[in-house]
């Protein structure tokens, strides 16, 4: 098919869609992480660092368990499951650390997040050893059931051959959307984001809920990190998150602090990022650096409110003092 002189092939379309999903997963998880945190009135710009730390710990665990002297973890699924868990827990602990600084020590949320980011860049860079090896990453959950050549095969190539975290991400988004607006926990969380004083008066333990939610916020960022090193790329690189945590925050704002809206935003950003690597398949020749800046530029445009005004949780970014 030719449109405006650009050749569009089925292969290129499938590749672009797959790259879109691949790019959108960590951003989606990051945006859900930011959402849980901000709905609890804590700004979390440390998502980037939490992701990086979890990507690192998950990968190092994988490398350790892949060692020849560890025989009990001969089962690949067992080994990778433990690694993902380590990544998620690392993220959760980083979330608690951020919460501790923000709640107990009343550190400005943005400074605390910056501490998390610099600390993660330092610790992972310091302990990373380029000579590590693993027995491989998470395999696809369901393989494409259709035959090659069949039209459905093309649909299957997008829907299947994905790892478990990819599917889990969509489930998580649905779950958070349900929990946030249909459960007691959700109502309480939203209330401490809007007016912690009122919530406190009604007997909600504001700090405890903030700590809990920040643990889950960190855990989600951790899952995003684990996805990078255990499912997507398969190896760790210094600074490999490359701004995904910040884009996730922008996506969260784009989605107006709603889980499903954030997912839509993440898919849009995933698509823009995917274009960069896929343009050449469409036969378009542009300096890749200029294409690479599109997602960042769009983030700015989104933030500037050209896609409609969004209202953040009223109490976000402010310390709350229990009386």
């Amino acid at each position: 098919m030719d449109i405006l002189g650009i050749t569009i092939t089925t292969g290129a379309v499938i590749a672009t869609l797959n790259a879109t999903i691949r790019q959108a997963i960590p951003i989606t998880l990051g945006s859900q992480s930011g959402l849980l945190s901000e709905r609890s009135s804590i700004v979390n710009i440390g998502i980037e660092g939490m992701m990086l730390m979890a990507a690192f710990s998950g990968y190092m665990m994988n490398s350790y368990l892949s060692g020849s002297d560890i025989s009990t973890f001969a089962d690949d699924n067992m080994r990778l499951g433990v690694c993902v868990l380590v990544g998620v827990l690392t993220g959760g602990l980083m979330g608690l650390f951020h919460a501790l600084l923000c709640i107990r020590y009343k550190v400005d949320h943005i400074i605390s997040g910056t501490v998390v980011n610099i600390l993660a860049a330092g610790v992972t860079g310091y302990f990373y050893n380029a000579q590590t090896e693993t027995k491989g990453k998470i395999p696809p959950l369901i393989s494409n059931p259709w035959e090659k050549g069949d039209f459905l095969y093309n649909v299957g190539a997008v829907l299947f051959d994905k790892d478990i975290i990819t599917y889990l991400t969509f489930v998580i988004v649905g779950f958070i959307a349900f929990a946030l607006f249909r459960t007691v926990w959700g109502l309480r969380t939203r209330s401490i984001g809007e007016n912690p004083r009122a919530a406190d008066t009604l007997g909600i333990n504001v700090y405890r809920l903030q700590y809990t939610n920040l643990f889950f916020s960190g855990a989600l960022a951790g899952l995003a990190g684990a996805y990078l090193t255990l499912a997507d790329v398969g190896v760790f690189e210094r600074g490999m998150t490359a701004g995904k945590g910040f884009i996730a925050l922008a996506v969260m704002i784009f989605g107006k602090w709603h889980p499903v809206g954030a997912l839509m935003g993440a898919l849009l950003f995933g698509f823009l990022t995917a274009l960069q690597s896929q343009l050449q398949f469409f036969g378009i020749v542009v300096p890749h650096q200029l294409v690479a800046l599109i997602p960042y530029a769009v983030t700015v445009i989104v933030l500037a409110g050209f896609v409609g005004r969004a209202r953040p949780p009223a109490h976000v970014g402010q310390a709350y003092e229990v009386e």
């Binding site: 600084l101 009343k106 610099i118 860049a121 330092g122 302990f127």
Partner: protein, 396 residues
């Protein structure tokens, strides 16, 4: 003794003698320096644990750090060379803080300034040296100011939070700079970037800056060492003093601090908060742009990709360590410049340079949460507590 005290009491409140004044001001000084000093000490101790964890010798590592940074003329000059851009970029962060803005964009503003200085440095030939330097520095300042003013304007008119927009502008600046110096594809389908040096071999960088635009050397290091101390350091020190005067001694500075403390009150008092936001970010960007110029015209002689990676992060810590005080920034910048220079020697003892990042993050954390330090060392200090920065996304 008793009579003297009595006669003093009769004459009204005792006039503090010069000695008590000095003692008091020294006590104030030690109070303000105690927390940063203990923060640095604690961070270094935690760093030692990390060195031990990696199976290395902390004493050897830190000795290497100090030796490499200070104990020989070459190291000291290198430390000072690394200090100069850090002072300017630290000021870029600190000045914005005074106006209540968190400028994480020093990195991008610095890159834009670097590229502009490099371009002006080679594109104009036949100029007298002083004019060429002013031209190149001016180009860098202007480019940086513009790169800072855009997020400022976005904040003022649409409420887009500067933390995210400036981070995005960092990425955008670095991609544009990469494109400008890219060599193009081998088959010639993608042309080389507009500023790329075709004679650089396979290295992506701009054409070299002409000699007339290089910053004059002040102190020559005895051979065989190459880098010499140039006037960049003095430009940075002058900028710090100017910024101090601007913040503390002018109407503009007063309004700036007013907006920083309480934008609503400033608005009510008749300050144009929107305009202040834009000018604060423009001046901050201008300072970071100058940092890039000092780097390009004084040290590298061209713009090279990733030449100042991490300077932006460092400048945040530099500024916060000095409580955003312009004069204090000079000293914390010297400390960080020295740390950066010393890592090369430290690396020889088998310690990865990222250790410095960990130490910086810890220093930042202890400064922002002084209660931890007070609890650790059981000290009572009348600290000012943490900074207030978060104003939410889209509120002002």
């Amino acid at each position: 003794m008793a009579t003297i005290a009595k006669s003093g009491a009769v004459k009204g409140p005792p006039v503090p003698s010069i000695v008590t004044k000095i003692v008091n001001s020294l006590r104030d000084l030690s109070n303000t320096l105690l927390i940063p000093a203990l923060a640095i000490l604690t961070a270094i101790l935690v760093g030692s644990v990390m060195i031990l964890l990696a199976g290395r010798d902390p004493i050897a590592a830190y000795t290497g750090l100090v030796e490499g940074a200070w104990l020989e003329p070459r190291g000291l000059v290198q430390s000072l060379l690394k200090t100069s851009p850090l002072i300017l970029s630290g000021l870029a962060v600190g000045f914005a803080f005074k106006g209540g803005l968190f400028n994480i964009g020093a990195q991008g503003q610095l890159i834009v300034g670097s590229v502009a200085a490099a371009w002006a440095g080679y594109a104009f030939s036949g100029l007298p040296s002083w004019l060429h330097i002013i031209l190149a520095m001016g180009a860098a300042a202007l480019a940086g100011a513009l790169w800072g003013a855009i997020p400022g304007a976005l904040k003022a008119y649409s409420g887009a939070h500067e933390v995210i927009t400036t981070i995005m502008f960092n990425f955008i600046a670095s991609r544009i700079a990469e494109w400008m110096i890219s060599l193009g594809s081998a088959d010639g389908k993608i042309p080389a970037g507009p500023l790329a040096d075709p004679n650089s071999g396979a290295i992506s960088r701009t054409k070299p800056v002409l000699d007339s635009a290089r910053l004059p050397v002040v102190f020559e290091v005895p051979p065989p060492s190459v880098p010499n101390l140039n006037i960049g350091l003095f430009i940075a020190v002058a900028a710090a003093i100017l910024i101090m005067l601007l913040v503390n001694r002018t109407t503009f500075g007063f309004e700036l601090r007013m907006v920083g403390l309480n934008p609503s009150a400033a608005q009510y008092a008749g300050v144009n908060v929107k305009r202040m936001t834009i000018s604060t970010m423009a001046i901050a960007g201008c300072l970071a742009g100058l940092a890039g110029a000092v780097q390009t015209l004084g040290i590298n002689g061209y713009y090279e990709a990733n030449q100042s990676l991490g300077l932006g992060f460092d400048s945040i810590t530099v500024s916060l360590l000095a409580s955003n005080n312009p004069i204090g920034i000079m000293f914390s910048a010297f400390m960080f410049g020295s740390m950066d220079q010393g890592t090369t020697r430290m690396q020889r003892t088998g310690v990865a340079p990222e250790l410095i990042l960990v130490i910086q993050a810890l220093i930042l954390m202890f400064i922002a949460a002084p209660q931890i330090i007070r609890w650790l060392y059981r000290v009572r200090v009348s600290g000012k507590g943490g900074q207030k920065l978060s104003t939410g996304w889209g509120q002002r």
